[in-house]
Amino acid sequence: MGIEVKNINKLFGEFKALDDVSLNFPTGKLVALLGPSGCGKTTLLRIIAGLESADSGQVILEGQDASNSHVRERQVGFVFQHYALFKHMTVFENVAFGLRVKPRRERPGEAQIKEKVLNLLKLVQLDWLADRFPSQLSGGQRQRIALARALAVEPKVLLLDEPFGALDAKVRKELRRWLRRLHDEIHVTSIFVTHDQEEALEVADEVVLMNQGHVEQVGTPDEVYDRPATPFVYSFLGSVNLFHGRVEGDVVHVGPHQLEHGGSSVANGSSVVAFARPHELSISKSPDAKGVHAVIERVLKFGATARVELIGVDINDHKKQQNYEVELTRAEVAGLNVKEGEHVILVPKRLSVFEHEEEVA
């Protein structure tokens, strides 16, 4: 139940926007479609809404095949990145729109419309703005009105296309907590599209990671962050240090250096990419430590943790300078007493190894 898409394909000319995408969005969940721009996430959302049609494949809403039905019959609430409010109508009339355009026999009476609209405006905490026009509202308020408008028709599913994309950082942060609380209150199956990994991980029950028209990984925020299934997911979610090398026994050879990987399924001798998040690396000053040699470039000691930026030594990987980033507690940094320009060794506490296929961004 909920929303299901099966084998969706979509071409824009030569460009493959969606490549055989099949997904299941469970009822009552808030799911994030996450990926870089151009990965097909918005196209998928618009296909689910019926604003775009797939070249092949099926869209199943609440168990019913909706592939061939028009957007107005699908009973989906759609929230646009740039709000798409009707600027010639008051906030009240915007929210009432979906009720007023219903066929006469389904249309509620004026008193019912009024009650319902005011309730929705209360739900989004903007009932005091009912008589204003959209141009008199702030961006965050407009998006909440757009959401109330979408909810007025009691949609089976709620689809949000980069809902906070046009807002500034502070309002974004407020609104995503607010969206989470709202969803806990109304429990409508919801999908929102975003390119902001922090937003996806913070708000969603489940995250779908997309890249170049296909799905990379589906899972809870914890799963995708802690156990990325592909190199793409690893590098897309949060900052990461990469090491290109070759597996031999327990170690990964990176240039003249060795890293212990602590067990991996990758075949001996194969060329690999190893990932470690900044907090999964430690800095050692003892010359016989097993790790990658680097020179400290900068030590940034503000905030709860300290960041150390380093440059790799003796690694001519793709003729590029290798940059590393390590996150340590302030106490650790003080204990190490590292100075800029000092030569140290990076030792991973945890290393994820993937077979090398292509260059990872």
Binding site: R72, Q75, F80, H82, L85, M89, F97, V101, S135, A150
Partner: protein, 279 residues
């Protein structure tokens, strides 16, 4: 202590531009128009009334304003459709159609008049088929309307077109996702947004039609009481050296046009206010 009348602004030059605007408007518009009124005061009110209440003059005023209103309305409707097609659809020859729209602007009006007369006359391309059906166009008020529609079309298309281009497709998608059918989306969402521009186009087309002379004069036939337009009456008076008589009609036309444009403008202000937009 003196206080400046105009506060300092980040956009300088208010005084200069306002002064220039007033002087320019005065020179170009106000002085000639007041001369018209001035000349009319040569007549006593009784004489003035006698000129403008003459049946031929009344008939011509009715024809001029009536035909102009109808022509502007027709242009409002079809101009909107034309603008819509030009903005929304891609079709071969779109650029050419787009250019054709401006042609009535560029063509000498007399040329337009002669061409229209040739086509709609009894033996013309179109006239020869309409005449047997009992439809007379050339030398009737219908012909006048056609000429006025011809010259007024670009005004509506060119004022509505940019507003339609700015109209966000998402607005219509939002309406559809909320369950609105196509007619509801157009009448409740799209039309209210372009209405102010449409009204402007209507007003411009109307104003142009009221003052039009060249293209109408050939197709009108100029039968007294039937197809004589007000500008023609003015010319006739001028040819008889009856300057005050001519300006009397001009004053009435000025007054009526001013009232009608004022109504359109306040209608526009009202729609803008109703929809929360800055005027």
């Amino acid at each position: 202590m003196t206080r400046p009348l105009v506060k300092q602004s980040v956009i300088p030059g208010f005084g200069v531009t306002l002064g220039f605007t007033l002087a320019y408007l005065g020179l170009i518009v106000l002085i000639p128009l007041s001369a018209v009124v001035w000349k009319t005061t040569d007549l006593s009110f009784a004489q003035f009334w006698a000129v403008i209440s003459e049946p031929r003059v009344v008939a011509s005023l009715k024809l001029s304003f009536g035909a102009s209103l109808i022509a502007a309305s027709v242009n409002g409707f079809f101009g909107l459709i034309l603008a819509w097609a030009l903005v929304r659809y891609e079709f071969p020859g779109k650029k050419i159609v787009d250019t054709l729209v401006d042609l009535p602007f560029a063509l000498p009006t007399a040329v337009a008049g002669i061409a229209l007369t040739a086509i709609y006359a009894k033996n013309g391309w179109i006239g020869q088929y309409l005449e047997p059906l009992g439809l007379k166009i050339a030398f009737t008020p219908t012909g006048i309307m056609i000429a006025l529609i011809f010259i007024g079309l670009p005004f509506v298309v060119r004022t509505v077109q940019p507003v339609l281009e700015d109209l966000d497709k998402e607005i219509e998608e939002a309406a559809a996702s909320l369950g609105a059918n196509r007619a509801q989306a157009v009448f409740k969402v799209v039309l209210p947004i372009i209405l102010p521009a449409l009204l402007t186009g209507f007003a411009l087309a109307f104003a142009r039609a009221v003052g039009e002379y060249g293209s109408v004069i050939f197709i009108a036939g100029n039968l007294p009481m039937v197809s004589e337009i007000a500008p023609l009456m003015i010319i006739t008076k001028l040819e008889q050296y009856d300057y005050s008589g001519a300006t009397s009609i001009a004053v009435v036309m000025l007054f009526l046009s001013f009232i009608l444009l004022l109504i359109v403008n306040s209608l526009q202000a009202w729609t803008a206010k109703r929809t929360g937009r800055e005027i």
